[in-house]
Amino acid sequence: MDFLRPLTWDEALAYKAGRPEATPIQGGTDVMVEINLDKGRPAALLDLNPISELTGWSAEGRTVRVGAGVTYSRLIGELGSLLPGLAQAARTVGSPQIRNRGTVAGNLGAASPAGDSHPPLLASGAVVEAESARGRRMIPIGEFYTGVKRNALAPDELIRAVHVPAATGPQYFSKIGTRNAMVIAVCSFAIALHPGERRIGTGIGSAAPTPRRAVAAEEFLAGELDWDGRSALDPGVARRFGELVAEAASPIDDVRGRADYRLHSLSVMARRALGWAWKDYAGRGSA
C-alpha cells in the first residue's frame, strides 16, 4: 500500500488525478476501522492532514465555509452560534476522542445514511465544494447523496470545504440511539427555520437509502405557521408535520431498529424538534 503525503492542496489534486483509486484520509475514524478489520485494503492512502489550509473556516457573507479538515470538536467549540444545527449533530458523534479527529468532510466521503452531519446539512441547504485537477464544482447537498454509502464525487475529486448558510432562525437536531454516547443513529432528524424566506428546512437520517429532505412536510408547515404573529403552534399542525416527515422516509428493518419503529420515532422527533424551534422563534418576539 502506498502512502501519499501531499503538503499542499494542488499536490493533493495532482496525486488524486494520477491515482484516482487512492483513498483520502482525514480524521481516519471511518477509513481506519476498515483497515483494522481488513475489509478491503486501499491500494494507496492519500493523507490530507498535512494540508493546513483545510483546517480553517471562514464566514463569507451569510455563508460559513468549513474546510475539510475542521474537526467536530472545533465545530462545536467555534461554530455553535453560526451553525447551531450542525454543531448539535456534531456533539452526538461518537465520543470526545472521535470528535477530536472526525470531520464533516469525512462524514460526506463515507456517505453513510446514518451519518449525523447529513440531516442538518440538508436542513440548512449546504453546498459541497469539490475539486479535481480538472476544476472546481459546487454540489448542492440534495444532489450529493446518490446511494447507500455512495456520493456524487468523481474518482479524481476531493472535498475541499462545505459551505453552510449561517442560521437565520432556530435549528434543532434529534437522534435516537441506545444510549447517550457512542451510538450510530437508529434514525435522526434536523429542522431549520428560515424566517426571512418563510421557509422550513428538514433532513432525515438513517431512514432511507440516503439522507433526504421531507419536502412535502416543509411546504405544508411553511404555509401553516403564523410567521408574523408568532402565535402558539397548533398541535394539529405539529402532528400533521410529523406524519408528513415519516411519509418521506423509506426505512428498512436492520440490527439497529425496525422500520415501523423508525417511522414512529421520526414523527415524534419531527413534532418535538418543531416544538423546540417554534418556542424559540415565538419567544424571541418580533425583531
Binding site: F3, R5, G28, M32, L37, G56, S58, Q97, A181, M182
Partner: protein
C-alpha cells in the same frame, strides 16, 4: 471572521507547553513513498525523539506497543469504541488504534508512561488509586489519559459533565462511580 484568531491562540498555548524541556525532532520531508513501501516518520513520545521506518498500514497503537515497547497503552477493540488506547497528540486526546503512525510526523505524543515524574505519580493517577477507580485495570491507562484531557478541557464541572466527557472510555468492570470520584478529586 475566520478561524485564524482562535487557532493562533491555540498555537501559542501549545508552543508554550512544547518549549518546557522537550525536544522536537526535525520532521521528515513529506512526499512520495520510498521504493520499499516503508514510510519514515519522526515524532516525540513523552519528550523523547523517535524516528521509525514503518509499513504505512501500522497504527500508532501497534507502533507504540510493538516498536517502542510502550505497552501501557492497551488494545481493546481496535475499532474506536472502547477508548483503552487513548493517547495525547499535540495535547489532544485521540484513539491510537484509529491513527496511522505514518501521519504522526512532527507530532508531540504523550502516553500513560509519560505522566509520572520519576516516582511521583500524576495527580490523576494518584486520584485513581485513592478512589479505587479501577478493578482489572485494563481500561485504566485510557481512562487516565482521557481524564487528564477532560480536566485540561475544563469539562469536569459536574458529575453529569464528567460522565459525558468520559463517555468514550468503557470500563467492563463497571468502576464508573469511582472513576467519576477520581476525576473530581483530581479537579480539586
Amino acid at each position: 471572521m475566520t478561524s485564524g484568531d482562535l487557532s493562533r491562540r491555540r498555537f501559542f498555548a501549545q508552543a508554550a507547553v512544547a518549549s518546557v524541556g522537550m525536544t522536537v525532532p526535525m520532521s521528515v520531508e513529506p512526499g512520495a513513498p520510498e521504493a520499499d513501501g516503508l514510510v519514515e516518520v519522526a515524532f516525540t513520545v513523552n519528550g523523547k525523539g523517535e524516528r521509525l521506518r514503518v509499513d504505512p498500514r501500522i497504527t500508532l497503537l501497534d507502533a507504540l506497543r510493538e516498536r517502542l515497547e510502550l505497552t501501557g497503552t492497551k488494545k481493546g477493540c481496535d475499532r474506536g469504541q472502547c477508548g483503552a488506547c487513548t493517547v495525547h497528540v499535540d495535547g489532544r486526546r485521540v484513539l491510537s488504534c484509529l491513527t496511522l503512525v505514518a501521519t504522526m510526523d512532527g507530532k508531540r505524543l504523550t502516553t500513560i508512561e509519560g505522566l509520572a515524574k520519576g516516582d511521583r505519580l500524576h495527580p490523576v493517577q494518584q486520584a485513581f488509586i485513592d478512589c479505587d477507580g479501577f478493578q482489572c485495570g485494563f481500561c485504566t491507562p485510557g481512562q487516565i489519559m482521557s481524564a487528564v484531557a477532560v480536566l485540561r478541557e475544563g469539562h469536569a464541572k459536574s458529575d453529569e459533565e464528567i460522565r459525558e466527557a468520559m463517555s468514550g472510555n468503557i470500563c467492563r468492570c463497571g468502576a464508573y462511580p469511582n472513576i467519576v470520584e477520581a476525576v473530581k478529586q483530581a479537579r480539586s
